[in-house]
């Protein structure tokens, strides 16, 4: 389910442009263009099909040290390979901005931690997450123990893996999530 497809493209809106979102979008567009000025044109009226490769996106200062940068790029890219169009880029930073609502952030955080893209965070996904969070410094037994505890605590329907609903319920109990799942640009 891509909520992006639901946005009305030809909306003749007389809504006033909110200054913060307008300035955010302009900034994001210029940041996108700065990554590869020779590839990205200034004129977007005919919707050019420009895609920037993952290496450029992953080299941005906001992302280059984040342990989950590859997953973030994969989740927001159109074909799941990390190469992003302008639309994908704008989506990514608007979900990670402070204006996005909690449910939207929870949905995308869930997709980022779901490494095998099966709509569930299973034990192997959790193990990969723990390893990324601790730079592979825990022993495999400790990793396994931690993952079992997490599943035991958060899995309400007892199917051995975390669904989106379990994850969202966990988010409610972590009010810091809104401020930590946020990248300033």
């Amino acid at each position: 389910m891509r909520w992006k497809s639901k946005t009305p493209c030809s909306q003749k809106s007389e809504e006033p442009i909110q200054p913060t979102s307008l300035s955010l979008f302009l900034r994001l567009f210029y940041r996108y263009r700065d990554l590869a000025p020779q590839l990205v044109p200034l004129d977007y009226s005919d919707n050019p099909a420009v895609t920037l490769p993952y290496e450029l996106i992953g080299s941005m200062p906001e992302l280059k040290d984040n342990p989950f940068r590859q997953r973030i790029a994969e989740v927001f890219s159109e074909h799941g390979d990390g190469n992003m169009t302008l639309d994908d880029f704008l989506d990514m930073f608007s979900v990670l901005s402070e204006m996005a609502p909690r449910d939207l952030k929870a949905y995308y955080a869930f997709k980022i931690y779901d490494f095998n893209n099966d709509d569930y965070i299973c034990k192997s996904d959790l193990e990969k997450t723990v390893n990324k969070l601790t730079r592979n410094e825990l022993t495999p037994e400790e990793v396994s123990l931690v993952c079992e505890k997490v599943i035991y605590e958060a899995d309400v329907d007892n199917d051995g893996k975390l669904s989106l609903a379990d994850f969202q319920r966990m988010i409610i109990r972590a009010p810091d999530f809104l401020s930590t799942f946020h990248i300033r640009i």
Partner: protein, 614 residues
């Protein structure tokens, strides 16, 4: 059947979520709708740079759009500078330390707003009707606030009680009404802003007390995406690694069972610690009280212009700031001695004790100002109180800078050269936030006595922001333990509202309604109370038929006790109704949770039976 039961389970979970979260539909952010508009604008801008406007209207449209764009971009430039600084802080130290700086900018906004409206409505009219200042200026007035400053707009005593009009038969400005309405409206707006911020924080950060899953949320919800500095990321990963190892080790330890004797010992230790801390607070208040009585005697004798006389005026503020700085260290040492069961308990109890200390010192000073100075025989007691508050604010600012110097700079020198196992200091968020709340309380108390005080506090907060930022970047390391930012910020805003702001409001009501202003100075000289200016104005309005409704509103709504009684009853009923709704939802959530467990248990039993039969 399996899918059927699974669907039923999913529906139950969905319903449970809808009760607990109220939103289950993923809401598309509004800013997405503007994306096409923005892309069109970017294209237009590109075209505009290439084309020349062909006709006049196009010219005008282009010019106005560019001008609008320029002013907008200027405004965003200022915000961008701020945003950039906050981004750098968040990148290296994470969200918890960032929350202190965000709180500081929020308080700064309150002071900027107050300074602007005080300047426009109180200070500028007074400049038009100012009397010449005959006193001489020596540099010492910057510290003591006395001397030359006594006859300036800094203090209440300088303001005239006349109706100012520069032009003959032109519009006139009633200073009394201007003064009281400006201060009143400022406090009303602050009250509304604080109330709505508190409500927003509570609704976002309220954690349901049952089933707090510590480990799961620690793993999946606390990675700070704000941190973008390579060293900081490595440090955070190392901290998380250490924390996970500690948690696993704690699981293996045996659960300590205290015997009855040990439990009694622990309770006795806690009681003793509370008695000692409350006793220290009481002793500090008594010391401040006697010192301030001495202070008043010094004023009544008449201050001398020499250095000793001026220095004696600074003794009270310096002692108050010393008490406010040193006693919290004593409290935190006491907390270490007590051996709490969790570090969270230690933190909350230390913060509670610090708040009790600070608020009781402020309380005793207010009692001294409003009961003793106000009824003394001094010429202009409001100016005396204003000077006291000015000195307190200034000395508190100096101590804040000194605290940064000693607590962070010197501690880093000690930790890296002399005593290597101490290491770099961590930024003490709780202590710094409580200092901010104390400074803001003093400013709010002083607005009525010194209209320029918010401007002074605004400059002080600016300087504190940059000093703390530089000190943080150079001397501190990122925090080691997980700090529950949202919970702490909610409690800090609650502390700002509840003892601090509400206390100031009650003082304000007491002052305007009950205290007699001094006879010889200020805009309310000769009146029985400050509020009498408003009652007299309303009485004068009754003679005009056009404004009889104002008088009616005043008589029947503001000055009538029956209206307030009805309002209070209505509010209590609404609060009770909301409370009952929350309890009902809790019961429903509990019942549904039980149902989920029962159904999943039933399903697993059925599956076992079928498997056994096969």
């Amino acid at each position: 059947m399996c899918t059927g039961v699974k669907l039923y389970l999913q529906h139950l979970l969905w319903f449970l979520d809808s009760i607990t979260t109220h939103t289950i539909i993923l809401v598309t952010p509004a800013l997405l709708f503007h994306r096409n508009k923005v892309l069109k604008e970017i294209t237009n801008k590109a075209r505009q740079r290439g084309d020349r406007p062909s006709c006049c209207t196009q010219c005008l449209q282009g010019a106005s759009f560019r001008r609008f764009g320029n002013t907008l971009s200027e405004r965003f430039q200022q915000l961008r500078v701020w945003q950039k600084i906050l981004k750098v802080i968040g990148a290296e130290f994470g969200t918890s330390v960032l929350s202190y700086f965000v709180f500081l900018t929020w308080l700064l906004n309150f002071n900027i707003f107050s300074f602007l409206i005080n300047f426009s409505f109180i200070i500028i009219p007074q400049f038009l009707a100012a009397e010449p200042n005959n006193l001489s200026f020596t540099g010492l007035e910057l510290f003591t606030g006395a001397g030359y400053f006594q006859q300036t707009v800094l203090y209440y005593g300088f303001y005239t009680n006349a109706t100012i009009s520069k032009i003959e038969n032109g519009p006139s400005y009633n200073m009394q009404l201007g003064y009281i309405f400006t201060v009143g409206i400022y406090f009303l707006i602050c009250f509304l802003i604080l109330l709505f911020s508190m409500a927003k924080f509570f609704s976002r950060n309220f954690i349901q007390p049952q089933k707090f899953s510590g480990n799961a949320s620690k793993l999946l919800c606390t990675w700070d995406f704000n941190i973008t500095n390579e060293k900081a990321v490595k440090l955070k990963q190392k901290n998380l690694h250490t924390q996970i190892k500690e948690d696993l080790a704690e699981e293996n330890k045996e659960v300590l069972n205290f015997s009855a004797m040990e439990r009694v010992c622990r309770i006795a230790t806690h009681l003793l610690a509370w008695v000692v801390s409350l006793g220290t607070a009481v002793a500090a208040c008594a010391g401040v009280y006697f010192l301030s009585i001495n202070n008043l005697e010094l004023f009544m004798k008449g201050y001398s212009n020499d250095l000793e006389g001026q220095g004696a005026m600074l003794v009270l503020p310096v002692i108050v700031s010393l008490l406010n700085t040193l006693i919290p260290f004593f409290f935190s040492w006491l907390g270490h001695m007590e051996k709490f069961q969790t570090p969270g308990q230690h933190l909350y109890i230390t913060i509670t004790r610090n708040i009790i200390l600070k608020m009781s010192i402020v309380g005793i000073l207010c009692y001294y100002w409003l009961n003793i100075v106000a009824t003394s025989e001094s010429q202009c007691w409001e100016t005396l109180v204003g000077q006291d508050i000015y000195r307190l604010v200034l000395v508190d600012f100096i101590f804040c800078l000194l605290g940064s110097f000693f607590g962070e700079f010197l501690r880093r020198i000690i930790g890296t050269t002399v005593c290597l196992n101490l290491g770099l200091p961590e930024f003490d968020i709780a202590r710094n936030v409580l200092d901010l709340i104390y400074a803001q309380t003093l400013t709010w108390i002083g607005i009525l006595f010194s209209p320029m005080l918010p401007g002074i506090q605004m400059i002080a907060f600016f300087i504190v922001f940059f000093v703390k930022k530089v000190s943080l970047m150079r001397n501190c390391q990122p925090p080691r333990k997980v700090w529950r930012t949202s919970q702490m910020m909610t409690s800090f805003i609650l502390l700002l509202f509840c003892p601090s702001f509400l206390g100031v409001l009650s003082l304000l009501f007491f002052h305007t309604l009950r205290l007699k202003p001094s006879e010889g100075c200020g805009p309310f000289r000769g009146l029985p109370a400050m509020f009498s200016a408003v009652t007299e104005w309303v009485k004068s309005l009754e003679s005009y038929t056009a404004s009889k409704w104002v008088a009616w509103i005043y008589r029947n709504l503001i000055a009538s006790e029956l209206f307030f009684f009805i309002l209070c009853t209505f509010l209590l009923v609404v609060i009770y109704l909301y409370w009952e709704i929350i309890q009902a939802k809790k019961t429903m959530a509990k019942g549904l949770r039980q149902q989920i467990e029962n159904v999943s248990l039933a399903f697993s039993c059925i599956f076992c039976i079928i498997w056994l039969l096969c």
